[in-house]
Symmetry: C2
Subunit: 143 residues, 2 copies
Amino acid sequence: MTPSTSLTRAWIRLMRAQRVVLGAIEQDLKSAGLPPLGWYDVLLELSRVEAGRLRPYEIEDRTLLAQPNLSRLLDRMERMSLVRREAFAGDGRGQWVVITEAGRVMRERMWVVYAASLQAHVGAKLADAEADGLADLLAKLSR
Amino acid sequence: MTPSTSLTRAWIRLMRAQRVVLGAIEQDLKSAGLPPLGWYDVLLELSRVEAGRLRPYEIEDRTLLAQPNLSRLLDRMERMSLVRREAFAGDGRGQWVVITEAGRVMRERMWVVYAASLQAHVGAKLADAEADGLADLLAKLSR
DNA sequence: CGGATATAAATGCAACTGCATCTATATCGA
DNA sequence: TCGATATAGATGCAGTTGCATTTATATCCG
């Protein structure tokens, strides 16, 4: 049941590439005095939906964050006034997570840095056609 | 400076694929009662070299582990008798990290599970030629 | 209706990471 | 040779993650 060398090599490079690029991006965000990428993911999901609000479990599904981690991430974001929690009428257990105006502003500020960083660390190394090929191959892995 | 959609899509899928596959592999190791993947990486590097020993900074270079993290990982591995630290003659600041027989056995036990997991979570989804293509594209990113 | 079960989210705790700092030893240059 | 600087590795601490458990509310079924 030993995987082929092709396979092993691809996996090792996947780990390495992700680590290198993610590290570089996080570093760029930190240098700009901005919060880590996880915050961006949450803000993006919230700003994508019309009402600017989602249930925590919906955010979970979209971001692959584990429930307790999301709960505490929301605590931190709420402390920074980027989101606010509101009661969910109709189910006493539930709540809405609502993005604030400050949250929208933060998402945009983060995107400026994130986009430049992506361009520098990925875009500069991959032509568009290559990126498409990569995306297709990677898509097979998450399914 | 906005990255193309191709680029963004590739990056998001890279993050997702790595998270999904790594999560599955770690889960398989844990289910088998084995330590996490980081331990494997260290054991592998040590077992690869003829004398079965490396300086900590050499392990760092090969695994991308941060120095303080490696230092403590070695503590844990030493507690489990998988490696042992020895003085490095010729530089009083340095040391050797030596893999023990138990360490070699552990590496092999981990590889059995790791290999099966890789096969299941990557191999089953990617033909060899695709894996080669993926590896080539990913190689461009770490450079 | 009322007890068993399920679901939404929070909390406690241990392990791990990143980061800054510290200690000890080496090296370099006046 | 000696003080300044660099390097190897360890340690302290705060922030984060994973995992198990808890709390509160819903739902389901006899």
